[in-house]
């Protein structure tokens, strides 16, 4: 076979490139898709997620905005009710709060309050999570604020492959979606071992991201590893922390990447916990009223008689994300191991 006739091999993509490709594909297929946000247009975003889109699709479809998150989200709602499919970027999840009213009271409720006449098929993309020494205003994980709102979907990918498929699904979804991107794993699957270099995504199978359109349906979890003794419920960066910990400790675990927090794949959770009888929930967000609380409630409601041990949570602490003590705050390998040891203790107290 001559060089030219070889099938085109897709170059491995990191998470940013996969997210960029998702928007590219969506914009190419549907002229109603547009992207905007602070530094999103010419510069292509401070993390470069929208790089090249303005050049390719023009300034009215990929543009910069004033620094006003309330405005960004408010105009996205307006554009969506006109019939566009806006993909708004909030530069850091920590800066989404000025736009909260437009999400809670407007985007999330318009379908309901107009009896289905006005709908908001928009996506809010935002990098979230810590591990980059960003201090308390570049590190937060506010996902449970959004799952608490009725009428909005919340999606969190953990690999380049998933990020692309989920983002396309979010853009094509008829309802508003908040899409949080774990920025610590933009360049590689960080597993909590901060003292080791992080492998680039190109060494990971999930960096094989097709250039074409594909969809990963919202509401479907991904079981990354099957086992019999314990279920780990994870999403975002914590997926990689969990996989590494389970491997290191030789635990026979189901590791379930939720991918969509709302609507939740309750079937996958229920089947797994009924099988293993043990459950550890992990998130980087603060513990109290975090999404883990909802998961723990669902697990005990549905799997109570199958449980062999109390459900454990591995989370961030209920403090702002500290700058210099970042690694003491981050729920890393040791916190995960201690939780696994607790949950594996049987009633007689033996491991």
């Amino acid at each position: 076979m001559s060089e030219e006739n070889k099938p085109q091999e897709t170059k491995p993509k990191n998470m940013i490139q996969a997210i960029n490709s998702a928007m590219d594909v969506a914009m190419d297929r549907d002229p109603n898709v547009c992207v905007f946000g602070e530094d999103v247009g010419y510069y292509g975003g401070v993390f470069r997620a929208t790089a090249g889109l303005q050049e390719k699709y023009g300034k009215t479809r990929a543009f910069d905005t004033p620094i006003n998150e309330c405005g960004i989200i408010g105009v996205a709602v307006g554009m969506a009710t006109y019939g566009l499919r806006p993909v708004a970027e909030i530069q850091f999840a920590d800066y989404i709060y000025p736009g909260l009213d437009q999400i809670v009271s407007e985007a999330a409720r318009l379908r309901y309050r107009s009896a289905g006449e006005f709908t908001v098929p928009m996506v809010i993309r935002s990098p979230f999570g810590g591990g980059i020494f960003g201090g308390q205003t570049h590190s937060q994980s506010p996902e449970s604020i959004f799952t608490h709102i009725c009428g909005i979907k919340t999606v969190i990918p953990s690999t380049p492959y998933d990020a692309k498929g989920l983002l396309i699904a979010a853009i094509e979804d008829p309802d508003p979606v908040v899409f949080f991107e774990p920025k610590r794993i933009y360049n590689g699957p960080f597993d909590g071992h901060y003292d080791e270099p992080v492998q680039p995504w190109s060494k990971h199978p999930a960096s094989a991201v097709p250039d074409e359109h594909y969809v990963i349906p919202l509401g479907k979890a991904n079981t990354l590893r099957e086992g019999n003794d314990v279920t780990l419920l994870v999403y975002g960066t914590m997926v990689h922390v969990a996989l590494r910990a389970v491997e290191e400790l030789g635990v026979d675990a189901d590791v379930i990447d939720l991918r969509t927090l709302l609507p939740l794949d309750i079937e996958a959770i229920e089947n797994s916990v009924k099988k293993t009888g043990r459950c550890v929930i992990m998130h980087e967000a603060t513990r109290t009223s975090g999404f883990g609380a909802e998961l723990a409630a669902l697990v005990q409601e549905r799997c109570f008689y199958h449980l062999e041990a109390p459900v454990q949570r591995v989370t961030g602490y209920d403090t702002p994300y500290p700058h210099s003590l970042e690694w003491a705050y981050f729920p890393g390998p040791v916190r995960t191991r201690l939780a696994l040891e607790r949950v594996m203790e049987d009633v007689s107290g033996q491991v």
Partner: protein
Amino acid sequence: MAADEPRRNLPPLQLHIPEPKFRPGDEADFSDIEVPPAGETPRPDTAAPHDAMRGHAYGLVRVLDDDHKAVGPWDPKLDADTLRKMLRAMALTRAYDQRMFRAQRQGKTSFYMKCTGEEAVAIAATFALDRDDMTFPSYRQQGILIARDWSLVDMMNQVYSNKKDRLKGRQLPIMYSTKQGAFFSISGNLATQFPQAVGWAMASAAKGDTRIAATWTGEGSSAEGDFHSACTFAAVYKAPVIMNVVNNQWAISSFSGFAGAEQTTFAARAVGYGIAGLRVDGNDALAVYAATQWAAERARTNNGPTLIEHFTYRAEGHSTSDDPSQYRSADEAAEWPLGDPIARLKNHLIGLGEWTEEKQEAMDQEVAEQVKTAAKQAEKNGILGHGLHHPLETMFEEVFEEMPWHLREQEEEMLAENRAANNVAKTR
């Protein structure tokens, strides 16, 4: 009817997207920027009604003329000693920025932001305020602390997030805070300080105090709702506050047009709210001083707030995280029609016969030495990530005044985790 069905026989609408004049590779030419001659703008009485001075929101208060002489009614007529102190504070700030930026590049901390080219905005204003007037800065007014002779070592401890950091390693570098320095805790969330400054000023007025408040924000951040909330409250309650918009032309990669500069000035926001607005040459330390002095007197005499736009230029990148050559013309800084604030004040002093190039050179060396000595001292207290942090327990302190049970439990868990990790981190 669907949006894309043909409508009445009308011309199609068009969406306007602002575009800066120059991008990478372009030759910057600022000849269209109107720079009125220094000394031309009248100085209203500090009790003048806001609507009698609307022109000031569209003009440009300038004191230093092209020959570096101080001219016109806004000349604050400062003595040479004060001018030299101001010059030194600006030079020290620039040297401090250079050193700390380099420290970040050397891996001694995570992040840094310079204020190069806009030193006058914070420093000259601070000289015009009283030492106990409360300041609510953004992250680019380190000059306030330096103008108030704050300890460089103390500032660096914060940048290094080390064991002597007064903020216990909690905040991102440059987000200083000191009540004693009348310098409000800097937030990462833009423009939140604006309504807070107004509230502080309202409280000061309600209590019959004599102190006023001053706050700063970038022009980009003036698009935030908080800015507009602040203007509304300041106007309604005639709060004794000075609200500064530092128009340095760029907000990361977005030019000022994305905050509304294609349509009007930032000082002109004042007109709509019914407050006094001044537009000032931000690279002219004397003009900044004079405008602040005017606004301070207005506030102190219960004549209400002033919104000041400082027209300046961000001569370097936004922070250690960006590369400005990716989004703007490389020669903009050199072409900036209002020059460099340090060079202008220096030339003014030389013109007065109160300074020389040799003295300037010697001073530059002195401040560089001063910064170097301070850095060595601060680095003894630790640099980021090398173990010399505040003890782990401090993570849970000051979330509340009294620690609730759940934080106590989490603290215990954290300590147990640290023991399980062979005490990697320092505890009490």
